[in-house]
């Protein structure tokens, strides 16, 4: 694991939320997204947004999410995705 990658692990949930605001919601700075908000129910990410999150997690955290792990258990909230990423890196 490179130094660069481990630095980026500071507060992954916030990084995930930042990515959703900037990339998926097209730089929507006004929206307030909590770590435990249901991203899917609130339509903050849709099925195509999920695919972009998978790319982002690979790029940002060096974690490859296999297709069978792309489930609501891991993508419902930023907090759940963060836990998944940390577990995969442990």
């Amino acid at each position: 694991m490179s130094n660069e990658k481990s630095l980026s692990m500071e507060n992954p949930a916030l990084k995930i939320i930042e990515f959703i605001k900037q990339e998926i919601l097209d730089n929507d700075v006004d929206i307030d997204i909590g770590e435990k908000d249901n991203l899917l129910q609130l339509n903050l990410i849709d099925s195509l947004g999920v695919m972009r999150m998978v790319d982002f997690v690979k790029r940002e955290f060096d974690v490859i999410i296999p297709p069978e792990d792309i489930t609501i258990e891991h993508f419902r909230t930023a907090d759940l995705l963060c836990r998944y990423v940390l577990a995969k890196r442990a």
Binding site: N38, L40, Q41, L42, N43, I45, D46, S47, L48, G49, V50, M51, R52, P67, E68, I70, T71, I72, E73, F75, R76
Partner: protein
Amino acid sequence: MNYPPYKDIYLLHQTIALHAERDPDATAFRFQDESISYAGLYEQASRLSSVLYQLNIQPGDRVGIFVFKSLHTAISVYGILSAGAVYVPLDPLMPESRLTRIICDCNLEVIISERSRLPILRKAAANARRLRAVIGVENSGDEFEGITWSDVSSQPASHTRPVSVVEEDLAYIMYTSGSTGVPKGLMHTHKSGLSYAKQSAHTYGLSPSDRLGNHAPLHFDMSTMEYLAAPLVGATTIIVPEDHTKIPVSLAQLIENEKLTIWYSVPFALIQLLLHGLLHERNLSSLRWIIYGGEPFPTKYLKELMVLFSNARFSNSYGPAEVNQCTFYHIPATENYSDDSVPIGKPWGNTQVLVVDEQDNTVAPGETGELLVRSPTMMLGYWGQQEMTARSVFIDCDKYGVEKKFYRTGDLVCARPDGELLFMGRKDRQIKSRGYRIELDEIESALYRCDGVQEAAAYGVDGTDGSQSIESAVILKNGANLNSSTLKKLISAHLPTYALPQRITIMSEFPRTGSNKIDRLALARSIGGQKQTA
């Protein structure tokens, strides 16, 4: 098929009373791990109707349903109907301005909602002062009274209160986006809703042992299959949570775990399942019907799905929300598909269709014209829009002065030699470019034929010369090595030169409507007509 138990039913909420008596423990609705039986639904609906009486809701009054999917969705529908009132489904994610507009438009004094919607309800209540009570939230000294679900449950269930409602009375108002951007409310009656439920139950042979997946949200007209037709026969509806609809692997798990027998959705949901649902790892043999509607299904995906779901029959359902549904086409397993789209089929029972030209004269068989529909499933009209309602119908008057009222669908169809109707596009999806008449759907199907294209949309862009030009956008499959010039070359093999899009924009996603249809208007607005960079 014969339905002796249903012959005396003429109001929508009589269906749950019937099954509460005949098979009280049968599951009516399921959501996540919770179930409600027909007896339970009948009890809860009666209690809710008591609360509505106490709030002085009269027969014909409108009551909003502003909740995310849950068992409360079903209880709300039947509680409101039991009170003789009219339910108005509201998208829980709609912005405050639209909510306020609808509250004022159909005079909603009571809304059933939930705590998470309180901030937006407070804003709406400040602007639309008529809102006086919200059921499903605690009383917190707001502009409106709050009534919790436990308050509702502590009510006595009174089944005997007489309500003066007949089948011609309103049952629900469904708001759709109007072409002008102003939402319009489609008024459906007990008669139109029940006529739809009966035809649907008959067409797909619904039975008490069926388990229907409710994919569509309540505010989308496709949900009437699960909320109205399933309770008619005493079947079980599994309400699919919003988050499952966004994650194909989880959706496929739900279909397997809940042993769904009937699936009904827009093609988009099925295509996502096919592409990302890991269907090979699932046992989905419980499905006996896969019904789609709302827009055409790209045939290459349909073919792949039919191979994967070899136990299920596939059916294309068709009908604007104004008539619920009016035609169907059961897709033969053996049909040798070309890339022509699948027919929308023939009218179902108790329904007459006409195919007419611009002068409302019936066209010759095989010619394209607008589809007009006459059926008891038809809406009463648009709420508060008499002129718009009048424009939407065609009155055929015979020499004795007897009138037949048809709904103008705005959809173009033509009949195959075997009588099956083919959808030829929207009347307003046909554009003229330099004098040529062009079907945008034709361009999309040409793009779909290209290997590597996942989704395609074509739209007209107003040019400076008064003519329209065609542009298009595509989403590529992962790893597809295509650019716009190679795509243009590929589709030029199928299209006349004048029908080639001026530009093909490669995108990672499309704007979509609430029901996941491609929002071509938004596409045209966002990228249409922009200067090309290359």
